[in-house]
């Protein structure tokens, strides 16, 4: 990047808020996605919406790519600056702007850490439910750009269900406000909904109004072990069919359980094929009733062991297995590739089986865990980036996993986003016409293609793998 352009940025935000040393460029060349890396030209930290607008205007004039970045924990290479340009940070824009108890909203800047928001509102007996696993370090801006999910999605929905309004800077530098502290608002297109999950490709979000709900009074946790996959899957369907919507309903397969036990030695049975962890929150009496009912349903479907936690401490213990699943798996091999193929929850058993078959076909280790109640699975491939031949097989296997999910009425990504990683697959899900209209929207917003270029839309769609019938 030419020195005079760097100077233009410095004029806006001050010298120390423009980073461009060798070390800093390298440190902003990646996110949490294995195997993706590209250097930006500089890293800029604006302090307010007006400064963002000035930066965007320069980028638009000189056609410089601009990549907004929170904590860089995303799993689809959505924040890797693969076309160079400016990485935009929100480390200064991380404040609480307004807390409104009458309208039950909180207004925050995008750099605020998700867990800090939760902690703040919970002190006031209010609740912001979306809880992506990375919430301790993820920023709310990143959550909104990715429309992040989490463990509580089944009952409470995902990030988009809690965003009421946004302030955003358009690629031409103009500032717009969408939505507001309103329960109802049908004035024109729902731009809030459009921007949530747009992965930084349409506009830069600079302020967010979030909806809050009353904090549930209690919660209760239970687990169940099964010696067949089908039994656990049927339990999931049956719980929902019995009109119970638990706050979480998580699934671990045998490989994951083995890895957790190997790592934690917490006495999990390694003889079982699947494990479910369920949690309900709300009024004490109904919570207890629901958890007991879920245990009964699990037993009815052949659970070989069930247990309800007696207190918060035991609940934490029971949830350990799910919490450490990814860490435990990641310790087995140098590289961990985590996917989030999602199917209707009724298809969970078929999907897990297909994943196993695909893993066998390509001679790979793929363990699966995830949000069973949402049909949102995390097939996790344990591999080694240095083994080029194996990485090729991983790619082929992932292609088949996406294909399998789509055949079951699912999607290529449930909560991680498309980013650069899944861009070549997007058309598989949305079709040619879907892709064309999405591209049209992108072009209407960003004719110069400066906003996080190369994300969501790939140069070309990957060839679909040969369709196979599901056994």
């Amino acid at each position: 990047m030419e020195q005079h352009i760097i100077q233009l940025f410095k004029n806006i935000v001050g010298d120390k808020n423009v980073k461009h040393s060798n070390a800093q460029l390298l440190a902003y060349s990646y996110d949490a996605t294995a195997n993706f890396q590209a250097l930006p030209d500089c890293v800029v930290s604006p302090r307010n919406t007006e400064e963002v607008s000035s930066i965007v205007k320069i980028c638009n004039e000189y056609k410089i790519p601009i990549v907004p970045r929170g904590s860089g924990s995303n799993l689809a290479a959505g924040t890797v600056p693969n076309y160079g340009g400016v990485v935009l940070l929100f480390n200064h824009m991380n404040k609480l702007v307004d807390f409104d108890k009458e309208n039950l909203t909180i207004t925050v800047q995008p750099g605020m850490i998700t867990a800090d928001i939760c902690q703040f509102v919970e002190k006031e007996n209010l609740f912001y439910p979306p809880d992506p696993s990375s919430m301790k370090i993820s920023t709310i801006g990143g959550n909104i750009s990715e429309n992040s999910g989490g463990l509580r999605g089944l009952k409470y929905g995902v990030t988009k269900d809690y965003v009421k309004g946004l302030t955003a800077v358009l690629p031409n530098g103009e500032i717009i406000q969408t939505g507001g502290k309103l329960a109802k608002d049908v004035a024109g297109y729902d731009l809030t909904a459009l921007l949530v999950g747009s992965e930084g490709t349409l506009a830069i979000i600079t302020e967010i109004i979030l909806k809050l709900i009353p904090l549930p009074k209690t919660k209760m946790t239970g687990i169940a072990y099964f010696n067949s996959l089908e039994a656990s899957a049927k339990t999931v369907s049956s719980i929902i069919a019995n009109k119970i919507i638990p706050v979480t309903l998580e699934f671990l397969d045998r490989k994951t359980i083995d890895a957790v036990e190997q790592f934690m030695k917490i006495g999990l049975s390694t003889e079982v094929e699947a494990m479910l962890i369920f949690e309900q929150d709300g009024e004490p009496t109904s919570v207890e009733k629901d958890v007991q009912e879920m245990t009964r349903i699990a037993e009815e479907h052949g659970a070989i062991f069930t247990r309800i936690a007696e207190d918060e401490n035991e609940a934490e213990k029971l949830k350990t297995a799910r919490r450490v699943a990814l860490s435990a798996l990641s310790r087995l091999k140098p590289t961990t590739i985590l996917e989030d193929a999602t199917v209707p929850r009724s298809e969970i058993a078929k999907m897990v089986k297909r994943i196993d078959e695909i893993a066998n076909k390509y001679n790979l280790t793929i363990a699966t865990f995830g949000h069973a109640g949402d049909g949102n699975l995390h097939p996790t491939c344990l591999t080694d980036v240095r083994d080029k031949e194996e990485i090729k097989r991983v790619e082929l296997a992932m292609d088949e996993i996406f294909e399998a999910a789509l055949l079951l009425g699912g999607t290529i990504t449930g909560e991680h986003g498309v980013g650069e990683m899944k861009a070549p697959y997007l058309e598989w899900k949305v079709g040619e016409a879907g892709l064309t209209i999405m591209k049209g929207i992108k072009e209407a917003f960003d004719p110069n293609n400066i906003m996080n270029p190369g994300k969501i839309f790939a140069k070309e769609t990957k060839k679909r793998v040969v369709l196979q019938s599901v056994h």
Binding site: K19, S21, N22, A23, Q24, L26, A27, Y28, S29, Y30, D31, A32, T33, A34, S45, S71, G72, S73, L89, N91, H92, I113, S134, K136, I137, V324, L326, S327, S330, R331, P334, T335, T336, D384, V385, R386
Partner: protein, 446 residues
Amino acid sequence: MLRKQKREWCCKVSTNLLMQKSFENHVDEALLLDCMRCGFCLSSCPTYLHTDQDEAQSPRGRIALMKAVRDGKVEWDSSIEESFNLCLGCRACEPACPAGVQYGALIEQTREAIQDVKPQKRLEKTVRNVTFNHLFAEKKDLNKAVKLVHFYQKSGLQKVTRTIGFLNLFPPFLKEMEKALPDLPKKVEELAPVQTSNVKVAFFTGCLMDSLFKEINEKTVQLLKLLGAEVIIPKEQQCCGALHAHSGELEKGIHNAKINIEAFDSDEFDYIVNNAGGCGAFLSEYENHLKTNPDFSEKANRFSRKMIDISSLLVKLGLLDYLQSHPKSEAAVVATYQDSCHLRNVNKVFEQPREILKNLPNIQYKEMLKADSCCGSAGIYNLLQPKMASEILNTKMKYVKEVNPAIIVTSNPGCLMQMKVGIHKEGLSNQIRAVHIVEIIYEQIK
């Protein structure tokens, strides 16, 4: 001009290549690949938080830099060196890491790799710089130094300084810490045993603790004797080597490790106790450093297995039960505890010191916010990176003031001095005092 440019270019290229080769030799690729870049370490890293969240000053950033240098993907320059230098080595990122990345080993290997290519002996260079350019540059400073020299002689530090290389660092260190210096050691009253036990304890005395804080060491012995232990101090022991290892002189650190392992290798000892968190962590890692050495692997394993910190040992020997016999006082004063990073993050000891404090008769224990976060002392870090160390200390003092304690309790000499400096800087010397955990226990039960 052109020739000069060419020479500079050649020099740059060769440093680059040498650095890459050195990283290949020293930095374990498998350890680097353990990092999956999830970023869970970020919020635990003091330098990340004190640089307005500069990723280049985070554990994830540093690991990415190590890998990039090793793979030849980034040109070596001062910004990269600074990123590694600015790391406190507090290892708070390790408990935060879901993938079990051994960051402590990686930063040690990195510093060794750098030291190999740029062998200016950072320790010596710093000592020289501070001694000649600061300490002796002004008469006023020199006067202070003379006072300090007097202190050296009286405290017996001078003698130790000659035998242990690392203590050469002391003139500048003491200059900074002048106001925080402890009084000359007083005679420590002996405590009569309250119980018998057959436990034999070998005491690793540590260089700082055995000189500047000799009184604390004597009290340590008395507390162990009180609970019926027999204490032996092996004469041949040396500096633990942690500071060497953390500054890129791993070989020297390992050299000391071998001497210490021999000095303590006896079936007689049930435990090897230390009262300095910084030493304790490195001592307990001797086995990792020597696991491929056929002559030492077994002995090192024995050594590290017996290693224990003073708080844990006192609890094991029944201190909490003994304290039950002391009724809680109405007029208890507020005390808070500052974790020793290495005791907490490496040896995972943080409950025992707190349990002890909660059970002391005249203490009302109050936890401060982020007690588990580094105070900025970090071995000799406060000397090498005074600006960052001072910012970190300021944050620490902010949390101290929220608790408003009469006493800050520590488990490591570096932390102890740093907290004393912090108290002095804030003008709180009349209200707050910093002590080692051994001192407060001794004081309360005497």
